[in-house]
């Protein structure tokens, strides 16, 4: 069912976002898009070119961006996609998102690009490692992190069809293709991408392909049979699927290109604590800031490359026996 191989082709999530916006815009003449002077990077400019009257580039004022998107959406008869980089779409206007989009559950679909450390050379100011934490804390907000462009397209359609607030997290980097084009996405339903019996690895975003590679290394080098799960949606999270896997394997590792505080790891721990408590190791960005470097250099610095993940998981398994 899943396409991923070590040499999988890469898919451009941002381009898929721009193309899907145009599809949705053709389907729904009421759909609007709001961006804040980053439309050529987020790819909302593709929508703006075809539907200039329904595209609002508000400039560098993200609080106003969320305010205008909310004003367009308050009657709930127009779906609004709002985009910027993750730092500026969620960090700067957080309280305005909470007050309008969240509190009133408006049909505003927040799609951020350039999340995580893989934004690279721009450095810590642009490396948003806390967005999942702050967005999942907002009541009504759904938080979704696609692992590739194929599932992203399905997520965007689902967000469009589902009433209320969404946060969808994309990155600057192209991701290896994990899913077939006809993958089906259901809110709150995760996927077991590889079955295993010794440990459960739960990963999101770019870390899904890294987790699959790490699982291969664990098998080859250490004879460890890891199960790999992509929950896709961090909120609501598929706690049932993760707990069932934990029941089988007895230990869980979470991997995310995000702070280990408040992100996927904590969402998984919360779900497991209620259903089937086991030892959990959170892997991600520690409680610190990034720095300038290429995406690969930074992934290596934070030990998020497949061979590093496999080695650290093996070490943890041994130390926690």
């Amino acid at each position: 069912m899943f396409l991923y191989t070590k040499d999988a082709p890469k898919g451009d999530l941002r381009k898929t976002y721009g193309e899907t916006l145009i599809e949705l815009g053709r389907k729904d003449p009421k759909l609007c898009v709001v961006d804040g002077d980053l439309s050529t990077s987020t790819k909302t400019a593709m929508f703006g070119k075809e539907f200039p009257e329904r595209f609002f580039n508000v400039g560098i004022d993200e609080q106003n961006l969320i305010g205008i998107a909310s004003g367009l959406a308050y009657d709930k008869d127009r779906t609004v996609f709002a985009s910027s980089f993750a730092m500026f779409l969620t960090g700067r206007p957080w309280e305005i998102i909470r007050q309008h989009v969240g509190y009133n559950d408006l049909p505003v679909k927040l799609v951020a690009t350039h999340a995580g450390i893989t934004v690279g050379p721009d450095g810590a100011s642009h490396q948003m490692n806390e967005d999942i934490a702050i967005m999942r804390a907002i009541p009504n907000m759904k938080v979704i992190v696609p692992a590739d462009n194929h599932i992203l397209k399905k997520i965007l359609y689902k967000a469009y069809e589902t009433p209320g607030a969404f946060y969808i997290r994309l990155s600057r980097e192209k991701f290896p293709v994990v899913y077939p084009e006809d993958v089906e996405f259901e809110l709150g339903r995760g996927f077991i991408l590889k079955e295993g019996k010794d440990i459960t690895i739960v990963a999101i975003g770019l870390m899904v392909s890294h987790a699959l590679d790490a699982a291969s290394i664990l098998k080859e080098n250490y004879g460890i049979d890891a199960e790999v799960i992509d929950p896709v949606s961090v909120k609501p999270i598929d706690g049932e699927l993760i707990a069932q896997s934990a029941q089988k394997t007895g230990k869980v590792v979470t991997i995310e290109e995000h702070s280990i505080i408040g992100g996927l790891g904590d969402a998984v721990i919360s779900a497991l604590a209620e259903k089937y408590p086991v030892l959990v190791k959170k892997i991600g960005i520690p409680d610190t800031y990034g720095e300038s470097g290429t995406a690969i250099e930074l992934l290596r610095k934070f030990e998020l490359m497949p061979e590093q993940l496999a080695g650290n998981i093996y070490k943890w398994l041994n130390s926690s026996k």
């Binding site: 609080q63 106003n64 969320i66 205008i68 909310s70 004003g71 959406a73 309280e95 309008h100």
Partner: protein, 291 residues
């Protein structure tokens, strides 16, 4: 515009709104009387002077005029106006701020018919209003969007983002009314952060038409609204309404301490008397509703 009520009738309605405002805050034991009283005459002019076309039976009709209470803490007088307009039963006013009440401490569209945007966190309303004005164009409608701001919230940067952007998008039908009572929570605005002044020059420089009035003089309010409604079809309009915080209750007037506290029983009775409520009515009210 054809005001549906005479100035004398509007004054009488404003007196009733002030009475209900103080009653509801007194029963709630908390709330913001100062800023509720300073915006009362403007609210009454908007809703009863023929400027806001709304149907209480169908509060979210697509072509209705919108009123965004960006200064969401003026909820008590706004609720009183909505009740008198027929959006809900007047009795509900006496549940203000109580658990389970549809009348939240700061206005909430989720809870109260007639409310357009959930506010209370200052500085956000004008962006919402701008979004609604842009929607008007997309929907091919001609409704007006009135946004009621406090002077203090002009200190919020987001307000200026919206002011700047309104002209850029050539928003039509957008009218901001600034309740310039010159008092915020801590002290007088001129003492806390006087940088909001000069208000008119700043709006003008951003491409807005401005009008300055006495916000308690109905003839000036009505004239300004007539002008604003007309000119807002060309460019956004800001009305700076110079007002008195706590207007109508003399011990509250122009006093920062009455920004956000409820009167005790003695002070409540004093306010009622000044607003022309008879001893008998006060006694009946207290017997029926007071804890």
């Amino acid at each position: 515009m054809n005001p549906t009520k005479s100035i004398e009738e509007l004054k009488e309605l404003a007196r009733k709104v002030r009475i209900e405002t103080i009653k509801s805050i007194y029963l709630a034991g908390s709330g913001h009387p100062g800023g509720s009283l300073s915006i009362t005459d403007i609210l009454v002019a908007l809703y009863f002077g023929g400027y806001v076309n709304v149907d209480p039976q169908n509060p979210y009709k697509p072509d209705r005029d919108r009123v965004i209470l960006s200064k969401g803490h003026a909820a008590p007088s706004f609720y009183a106006v909505l009740a008198l307009k027929g959006f809900f039963d007047k009795e509900l006013l006496y549940t203000l701020r109580k658990l389970g009440s549809p009348l939240q401490g700061h206005v909430s569209r989720k809870h109260t018919p007639g409310v357009e945007a959930s506010t209370g966190s200052l500085g956000q309303g004008l962006s919402i209003a701008l979004g609604m004005a842009l929607k008007r164009r997309l929907d091919n409608l001609d409704y007006k969007v009135f946004c009621l701001l406090s002077d203090g919230e002009l200190q919020e940067g987001m307000t200026w983002e919206a002011i700047m952007t309104a002209k850029h998008f050539n928003a039509k039908g957008l009218i901001a009314i600034i309740d310039n009572n010159n008092i915020q929570l801590d002290d007088f605005v001129t003492k806390v952060n006087s940088g909001i002044y000069p208000i008119e020059d700043k709006f003008k420089a951003s491409g807005w038409h401005t009008i300055t009035i006495d916000g308690h003089d109905f003839s000036q309010i009505l004239k300004a609204l007539d002008e604003a409604v007309k000119i807002s079809e060309e460019k956004p309009v800001a009305i700076r309404a110079i007002t008195v915080k706590g207007k109508g209750v003399s011990y509250m007037e122009n006093t920062p301490a009455w920004h956000g506290k409820a009167p005790d029983r003695e002070k409540f009775i004093e306010a009622m008397k000044e607003l022309g409520v008879s001893d008998k009515e006060i006694e009946e009210f207290l017997t029926k509703y007071d804890r």
